[in-house]
Symmetry: C2
Subunit: 182 residues, 2 copies
DNA sequence: GTCTGCATGTAACTGGTTACATGATTAT
DNA sequence: ATAATCATGTAACCAGTTACATGCAGAC
């Protein structure tokens, strides 16, 4: 269970409201740990009750009030505790893999098109991560601290998406070969 | 929602009981779509009520009775319907990525050890998939039909695990470099 | 006599998704 | 007018996990 921790990490980088956190989870940290606003508000409330975060009501003109959350000492302690804990490996759960296994029941062209659609999705993601990487970290060898760590997370995305693209290409080629032979 | 479909696909390959399905979900199909026995029994019951599968009670000597499930016509129709549907891309959800981002709050050696632990996990998985690949599909270019599709799913695992291993290596090297410099 | 494997389940809980709801401001 | 953005939330539901429960057979 790590949405709590993802939020804590994000809040240590910069304090913010539930809404702002939702924006962050639409990009950057959210690429590796997704969350919707409902979930974020719920967890924020729970963490406030647990004393991991403190709230400050900030009135704004022209906009609704916002509740800005900051990490408390108890929250920082919780991050440290969690960091020292062993990390669960991610499980792959890919619907396309299950569909591929059932491809014999499908029109080959439909299956090939679906694999290609997925290839496009991953290629887009890959391009995005690579663009972010070049824009924000043009000189990787000079990086240290937080910037280095953020860069490494991005590199994880690049690596994963490259793998997916290669897989889609291999699968599409094999399905085409099979179709041609029959 | 695809556990239903993963089970249907597995049952079209071979009829079986909840227990047998649980075994299959501990390997092969389960590498790409995990499920516990409780979940499987529950979904099987639901699918029976929906008429997607039919049950046959099989008494055995020396062993408890088992309920062998087979896919009905309605179940086959459901597979076809699902195959034609667009497939949701998998979201990466990796706790290690979140931890990496918080690495500044951690002892560098602990973080490096954790990355290495994960590297070992993925290397093991990779070796397993490659061994399965060589054992079950020694001549990939000759494959067609179901065997080809199963092979392609395995290749997805190989591709994903290779990506993870490369990432762990890159991250560990960078963290070491950073540690050495400070 | 204790553990592993076969075989099936219930119950409580946690985490995540979808739908609904409100209300002001700014830009087209 | 109407849509988008800011900002917060409730409620119902679905999927998945953990713990508990039963009972027989065969191996060590």
């Amino acid at each position: 269970m790590a949405l709590e921790h993802a939020i804590l990490v994000s809040l240590t980088e910069r304090a913010g409201s539930g809404y702002e956190l939702t924006r962050r989870f639409d990009k950057s940290i959210g690429f590796f740990w997704g969350a919707t606003h409902q979930q974020i508000y719920r967890v924020l409330k729970r963490m406030d009750e647990a004393g991991w975060v403190a709230v400050e009501h900030v009135p704004q003109d022209g906009k609704p009030d916002k509740k800005v959350y900051t990490v408390t000492q108890a929250g920082a302690d919780e991050i440290a505790r969690w960091l020292a804990e062993p990390t669960a490996p991610p499980e792959l759960r890919d619907e396309l893999a299950v569909k591929l296994r059932a491809a014999a029941f499908s029109d080959p062209d439909v299956m090939i098109a679906e694999v290609e659609r997925r290839r496009a999705h991953h290629a887009e993601r890959l391009a995005l991560y690579e663009a972010m990487s070049e824009r924000d970290f043009p000189d990787p060898n000079a990086l240290t601290g937080s910037a280095l760590h953020q860069f490494l997370v991005l590199r994880g995305g690049v690596s994963a998406e490259r793998g997916f693209v290669a897989w889609c290409d291999e699968a599409a080629a094999a399905l085409r070969r099979e179709k041609g032979e029959s």
